[in-house]
Amino acid sequence: MKNKITVSSLALVLLFVLNGCDKYLDVNQDPTFPQTAESFAILPPMLAQMVRGEAFDSRYVGQYVQNWASTASNNAFDRQGYTPGSDAAGEKWRQHYWAIGKNIDLIVEQSTARSQWDYVGVAKAIRAWSWQSSTDVYGEMILSQAWEPNRYVFDFETQDLVYNEVNRLSQEALTDLARTDGNVSEAGLGRGDLVYKGKREQWIKFVYGNLARNAHHISNKSNYDPDKVIEYVDKSFASNADNFNVPHAGTNSADGNFYGPTRNNMRTYRQTEFIVGLLNGTAFNGVTDPRLPLMLSISPDTVYRGVVPGAGDPTNTNNNPKRIPLVWGVSPSVTNAAQIPGKYIFTDKAAHPIMTYSELQFIKAEAAFIKGDKAMAYDAFKKGITAHMDFAAVAAADRDAYLASAAVPQDAAALTLSDIMMQKYISLWVHGALETWVDMRRHHYSDQVYKGFVIPATLYIDNGGKPVYRLRPRYNSEYVWNRESLDVFGGNNPDYHTYELWFSKP
């Protein structure tokens, strides 16, 4: 039989010479979503994300520092715990690495190409602030390997290195913000700058404010330099007009203030007994603070009450005359946000202060106090109170009467550390919970400093009886996808959140 071999088909078709082909295939740019943008379009949402990171986590940290507490008893955060397997209290991580994250690099890249050194400086200032405020809750962070292309497992680095990075980046930011060449202009920066409207000198003050935090948070260390802190404060904010206020349009829940009624984020939280005590005179020789009615809310029976963290709110029933109102000043039975005007910074349109003049004055007061310069400490202390009274819209006469009352030491010699820290606590209440937590951890929750402050008797089970000292890195980031790196410093241990951070150690 004759072998029959059939080649039934053989075809090789080259449709294009390679050059033409490349051009034909060059359609991989998204026509509906940009893959790059100019800096003025990136800066506004970045400012909003700074607030988001602070506010989301402040709600939990506010429970640690007893700014407010849950209406339900045995809430884990009230008891200085956390929620396992949850991203609750993981927002700063999201903010630092993603929400702000590489957008900073995009601004630096875009603005360097356009010689917009003001934008470059602003981007670095924001990242420096983000490192500082994030490491202050987390301690160890992903530092030199962060944002590295093609890397999926990240080593953590110690907090002293993050502190160094804040300093290095701040110096770069100051250099860039000082430049007037190229396309630097108030109008140009003002297009994206919702906070300082393009004024570089205010951004420079913000950088110094952040450096003041950086230098001051290590107050327990032997190399702490109060003079440096004082120098930084003096170069930073000069009045409330310099406050880093991020505005809110307040038209819906996406552009409204986190603490406003429309977002409804504070519905299950109530003012604590501790903050009520600071303002109703309990902590300050019986002098009622004029900020009391402006900041806190009064029950129907005209008594200011607060909850004890962990105990829940025993008054939380309909028509109870003792019922503690919502932070917006209305009864919890009011559920329609449109009927709630809000108060203090609990309104939809209220700006969120990331850093205030009063905070910086209290930093200066403490630094000078530690240094031994009581006169300077006393001066800054009174400026701090005055500035916050103005911030809270206290009438000048009421303010001056309070400053002259027994609530405030009347000369420098009578000033105590406790006075400074408790007034600072009041001035940071709500928006500054993270900075308050830094202070409380530096002073190890001392009831000599924070008079009347009581750590909950029954702490969260995983605490092993120890108070909280840090937030865990975001669960759906590090605990799920970078577990092994956490092991190096005990990040997977159940009591990891009680490990003291480097900054507060001697």
Partner: protein, 511 residues
């Protein structure tokens, strides 16, 4: 066509509705454009119809890949031997009247989705609007994914096709699979699109046809399909432990997942305390069809740890394998009878052995006090386990004795109970999928008209009978539709109802 409206254009040179203030927008548009160019060559060598070779080669150029990786080649080769047709051997196989052996090897390359080389920016609704990077990271070094498969098979027919057998064995490997993977935010993004993941599926398929009776007035034929396969995860991308399909994450902390092998998980999760327990978690480890979910904390001996304050078990809030959905095997069995050249009766039985199911419906009902298993809610119970009091790893851990009354603490239902309790293991079933009886109407009834050539009446019933050890409504469930792709959501039972029992009767007419 899109009709878009928006105000306040941010970027001057970018014409898209997404470049306007979201508060002013009335629509949103998405347009995806990809181009793929292919060159294909094929050769077939046919040797006297009993030995056939096929060879193909293909090169693709894709617009969605980086320039240096955009061109990729993939070949295939196949061989068929009809050995009963070899002239020298013809007629020498006894009852075997037909026999064929086939073997094939094929590679397929797949390109990436569009626009993934560079991350995109999305418009923001916060005060002042603007743009920020989206969740999805960029990957400028993306490669095409590569699928390799080998198949060996044989087709045999005996006794003039009264017995037929088709057997196939296959192995399919996926390398450089392009996956959207959640990662550490240290990447700067929430998801990465990356090459990674190495999966291997091995399986066999057997099809057996029998005609035991073949007479002029009675014919009985049987057709049986046997399917068995197993997908092993050799590697997951970016050194992660789990890959999950978010569409299957329908209820509580349970989802259809693929997990790294057991040794990898044990190394990752057993430090500093044991979170990976061989007894529980090795079941779905290394499986592409695992159930990933939360479970209870245990000591290294496997005793559940109890909170001394509450008396409740402590949870293991890590997604670890708590079951494997893959069945041991599946059989489809068809019996057909034809009587008196007029009556046809057929049965289709569907048989499955093994495979775990997450009974989310029961968990939901239990948590809401609607399950009969919650009737004892007022009866004090003591969780079996050891107290986490520091002695839990010692030789004599403290046995839990704390009594709790479920109804007295709502958290028992809302947070204490973990999905581990609602994974039902080794679910088998026999299901009468389809029964049809039809009767061909005698031609004489049709009379001498010339319009209708054939007519029959039939009754049909589907899913009339189900026997299973599953406690839920129906083990044949999936949380996803086939459109989701991937391994799918079979074995994830939440919010699904059982297949309906249907009856139909009718008349079938041929004109």
């Amino acid at each position: 066509m899109n009709t878009d409206y928006g105000e306040k254009v941010y970027l001057p040179d970018f014409n898209s509705i997404n470049n306007t203030d979201p508060a002013t927008q009335r629509d949103r548009s998405t347009l995806t454009r990809t181009r793929l160019v292919g060159a294909f060559a094929k050769a077939e060598i046919n040797f006297q119809e009993w030995l056939i070779f096929n060879l193909t080669g293909r090169n693709d150029w894709s617009s969605t890949l980086p320039v240096e990786n955009r061109s990729y080649f993939y070949p295939s080769a196949g061989m068929t031997l009809n050995f009963t047709d070899i002239p020298a051997l013809k007629g020498k196989f006894g009852p075997l009247n037909f026999g064929k052996i086939r073997a094939s090897f094929a590679q397929v390359g797949n390109p990436a989705p569009a626009y993934k080389i560079r991350a995109r920016l999305v418009s923001q609704t916060s005060t002042g609007g603007g743009f920020l990077f989206d969740f999805f990271g960029d990957n400028p070094s993306l490669k095409p994914e590569n699928v390799q498969s080998i198949e060996l098979g044989t087709e045999l027919a005996f006794f003039n096709d009264r017995v037929t057998l088709d057997f196939a064995w296959y192995s399919k490997s996926i390398k450089d699979q392009i996956v959207t993977q959640r990662l550490s935010y240290g990447t700067g993004f929430i998801f990465g699109l990356l090459n990674g993941g190495e999966l291997n599926t091995k399986g066999i398929e057997i099809q057996l046809g029998l005609t035991p009776v073949k007479r002029s007035d009675f014919r009985w034929s049987i057709n049986a399909n046997f399917t068995k396969y197993d997908t092993k995860v050799l590697n997951l991308p970016a050194e992660v432990s789990e890959y999950y399909d978010s569409d299957t994450w329908a209820y509580d902390n349970v989802r259809a997942s693929a997990f790294a092998p057991a040794d990898v998980l044990a190394a990752r999760f057993n430090s500093p305390t044991n979170l990976f327990y061989d007894d529980l978690n090795s079941r779905g480890a290394g499986s592409a069809t695992a159930i990933g979910g939360w479970s209870y904390l245990r000591n290294s001996k496997g005793d559940i740890l109890i909170d001394p304050n509450t008396g409740f078990p402590l949870r293991n809030a890590n997604f670890l394998p708590i079951g494997d959905r893959n069945p041991d095997f599946v059989i489809g069995l068809i019996n057909e009878f034809r009587l008196f050249n007029q009556v046809n009766i057929s049965f289709l039985l569907d048989i499955r052995k093994g495979g775990d199911i997450f009974n989310g419906n029961e968990m939901f009902l239990y948590r809401n006090g609607l399950s009969t298993r919650t009737l004892d809610r007022e009866t004090p119970i003591v969780f079996k386990g050891v107290v986490k009091d520091g002695m839990e790893e010692s030789a004599t851990p403290t046995q839990n004795t704390k009594e709790i009354i479920p109804i007295a603490d709502e958290t028992y239902y809302t947070t204490v109970i973990q999905p581990e309790d609602f994974v039902e293991r080794d679910i088998n079933w026999v299901r009468l999928r389809d029964v049809t009886i039809s009767y061909d109407l005698p031609m004489r009834w049709l009379g001498s008209q010339k319009v209708v050539k054939y007519a029959s009446v039939f009754v049909n019933g589907t899913d009339l009978f189900l026997s299973t050890n599953y406690t839920g409504a129906d083990p044949y469930v999936s949380t996803t539709s086939p459109a989701t792709g991937g391994a799918g959501g079979f074995g994830m039972d939440f919010g699904k109802i059982s297949l309906p029992r249907t009856f139909s009767a009718g008349l079938s007419v041929t004109f």
